[in-house]
């Protein structure tokens, strides 16, 4: 991993020094051993703070939107899962391809922070991480720890189909091999959900949505949620709340409306980066919602995975004369 970090700092410094980009969006050391933080390097010196390790969980692509109305060129560090977000923004015409330099990192998986913190003191200083294929060796000032991937990866990484970025200008490491059988999604989690009877499904989502805080972290982190103005943030006075899709009252019915509207909104567009579920402060299993519609779209319109490439029209956002219209 040290080679990737060196290469990243070198490349970032080069881009910034040459004036090719105004900023490199990457990761820096976080405030505990199993955490990194989004970092915005604007000069060569700051480029040396950039890092890469299996705690780089954030999808940084969303930050491009903060600069969408400017004309500066930016570089952003992406993993395979995040890289689909770049295609998302380009396809959605939210960020032009020519204004972004994609620094791709082949990713051997991310470690589950909570599991790691059960083993390593959060205050330990991270020295280095080595990816040995089946396991990570994490060296800290509190000693050396080995984490078997089978046990310690984030759930989304355990079934990852895109360890290599699907789009990148500079690849910061050797491409990782992907076995043929790992390339297609079997949706085991969704099949399991689908088998439940309606009452059980309803009880499941009632319980989860009931505790939604409506903090909107799932929306704010999502690269598919890129509207300039959100349906849930309509500037209307309190007495006209009913003119909105839903009121601020975080009751279970309103929360259902919020999550289901968001689900339909990202249908055919969700890249399954899993950030929504990671950021949820009350552990709502949000990927179950979005993966259900990914599965449905695949079944209805053929094998299509949003974000894998820019060029192809997506089933729900493109028009073809030969599209069936039996429902009309």
């Amino acid at each position: 991993m040290k080679q990737i970090v060196d290469r990243l700092r070198q490349e970032a410094a080069r881009l910034l020094a040459a004036g090719d980009v105004a900023m490199v969006i990457g990761y820096a050391k976080g405030t505990d051993v199993a955490r990194t933080t989004p970092y915005f390097a604007t000069n060569e010196e700051e480029a040396q703070n950039l890092t890469w390790n299996p705690f780089c969980t954030n999808n940084l692509v969303k930050y491009l939107l903060d600069f969408r109305f400017e004309d500066t060129k930016l570089a952003v560090v992406v993993k395979g899962c995040d890289s689909k977000g770049i295609n998302r923004l380009i396809y959605d015409r939210q960020f032009p391809r020519e204004r972004v330099v994609v620094l791709g990192v082949p990713c051997g998986g991310l470690l589950d922070r909570s599991k790691v913190l059960a083993t390593i003191d959060p205050g330990a200083e991270l020295q280095s991480v080595e990816d040995l294929g089946q396991e990570f060796v994490v060296r800290t000032d509190h000693g050396e720890f080995t984490f078997a991937k089978e046990q310690y990866l984030l759930p989304k990484c355990a079934v990852c189909r895109n360890p290599n970025p699907v789009i990148s200008d500079v690849l910061l490491g050797e491409e990782l091999p992907v076995a043929e059988e790992e390339k297609s999604d079997t949706f085991d989690d969704i099949v399991e959900m689908e088998a439940l009877d309606p009452a059980a499904k309803s009880a499941f989502w009632d319980r989860h949505f009931n505790r939604c805080l409506r903090c909107y972290a799932c929306r704010n982190v999502c690269p598919a949620c890129n509207c300039r103005e959100c349906a849930f943030e309509q500037a209307v006075p309190g007495w006209q709340q009913e003119a909105c899709w839903l009121s601020k009252k975080a009751s279970v019915d309103n929360n259902y409306t919020f999550h289901l509207i968001r689900m339909f909104d990202v249908t055919g567009r969700c890249i399954d980066c899993g950030e929504c579920e990671r950021v949820c402060p009350v552990n709502i299993p949000l990927r179950k919602l979005y993966r259900k519609v990914i599965k449905d779209v695949q079944e209805l319109f053929g094998d299509t995975t949003p974000g894998l490439n820019i060029g192809d029209g997506l089933p729900l956002t493109s028009y073809r004369k030969e599209d069936p219209e039996e429902f009309m």
């Binding site: 405030t31 505790r211 903090c215 982190v221 601020k248």
Partner: protein, 343 residues
């Protein structure tokens, strides 16, 4: 101040009886989250003070509550206010959360008396509980109290080997010990108090992160236009997590919901967050806090300066929840250190 002891078996009886005579609110686990919720069976209660637990502020200031219902009568509008709260007991409140209520009180009990908050506040007895472990991001010590401080609680418990030490800190706490005097004993109190002392010493060694607030307020007084805020705010997603998990954040919005028939509805207040775009949006379309910089600055200024300016108590109690839950590792401990560097 009355100090007594209760053994573990009797403690369960105490909980049973509290639950039957009052609305008992205590930490309850659901899908890996711990919330303060109304107890239906005492077996649900989880007093594991070392796990992440959402703050109990919602007991006094719920995420949403009806202020009044309205109905168009034949001649006039008929308003119906919600009935008064019943007596309740809030159990297992951590020292930081009890202290946080003392930061909330002047907001709702200042020049304007907030009837909704105060009604519940007056009718609630708070049973605090010493922490058993200091979490990595805890920094209550920086605010002059610690994991065994009972300030803000009516009755304060500390788990000891023979049960719980119970210290009555207010008249409500005294009343509770009196009402349940058959369950509490004075035998062994001295030993238990010693145990608490030892626990305090032991917990004090568990604080990992150094936080020194000295000079922070003075620097913030002159930092409104500092370029630091712009840099700091870049990573913020402007979601509402930090404000919603914060035990002292108290901003709300008021909305009307028509419904339930013609010409009727209800007026509600709901938690709001200064991180949201529309929080300060004016009718004219002007937004005095148009971007991340202004919103992030406002949050830290509020926690570490404005609340102090207004009420002489801090708006932060060092619970560490925002640090733990922030999806981008915005870390108030780091911010405090950086303010001292750049300010």
């Amino acid at each position: 101040m009355t100090v007594k002891l209760i053994n573990k078996d009797r403690f369960n009886v105490f909980l049973e009886r509290l639950a039957s005579g009052n609305e008992l609110v205590a930490p309850i686990e659901e899908d890996g989250n711990i919330f303060y919720r109304r107890v239906t069976s005492v077996n649900e209660i989880t007093l594991e003070a070392d796990a992440f637990c959402f703050a109990p502020k919602g007991h006094f200031f719920p995420q949403y509550e009806v202020l009044y219902k309205y109905q168009q009568g034949s001649n006039a509008l008929v308003l119906e206010e919600p009935g008064p709260a019943g007596p309740s007991v809030l159990l297992g409140v951590k020292p930081c959360d009890a202290r946080a209520l003392l930061s909330l009180d002047p907001v709702f009990d200042g020049n304007y008396k907030d009837a909704y908050y105060l009604d519940k506040r007056v009718k609630t007895t708070i049973i605090g509980l010493s922490c058993r472990k200091v979490r990595y991001n805890c920094f209550c010590r920086a605010f002059g109290f610690g994991p065994t401080s009972g300030e803000g609680a009516d009755l304060f418990l500390t788990e000891v080997k023979d049960g719980y030490l119970a210290e009555a800190l207010t008249s409500k706490g005294e009343a509770l010990l009196k009402d349940y005097s058959d369950l509490f004993t004075e035998t062994g109190v001295d030993g238990a108090l010693q145990e608490k002392e030892q626990l305090a010493v032991q917990l004090d060694t568990q604080f990992k992160r150094k936080v020194d607030l000295d000079g922070v307020k003075a620097r913030l007084d002159n930092m409104f236009e500092h370029p630091y805020w712009e840099r700091l705010a870049r990573k913020c997603l402007t979601c509402g997590i930090c404000t919603f998990v914060c035990p002292t954040c108290h901003c709300f919005d008021i909305i009307d919901e028509n419904g339930g028939g013609s010409n009727c509805g209800s007026r509600l207040r709901c938690w709001d967050a200064c991180m949201f775009t529309d929080f300060t949006l004016h009718t004219s379309g002007h937004n005095p806090r148009p971007g991340k910089k202004e919103r992030v600055r406002n949050r830290f200024m509020h926690k570490l300066k404005y609340h102090l300016d207004r009420y002489r108590v801090t708006g932060c109690v060092g619970c560490g929840r925002c640090i733990e839950k922030c999806p981008v590792n915005m870390d108030i401990i780091q911010v405090i250190a950086e303010i001292k560097e750049v300010g």
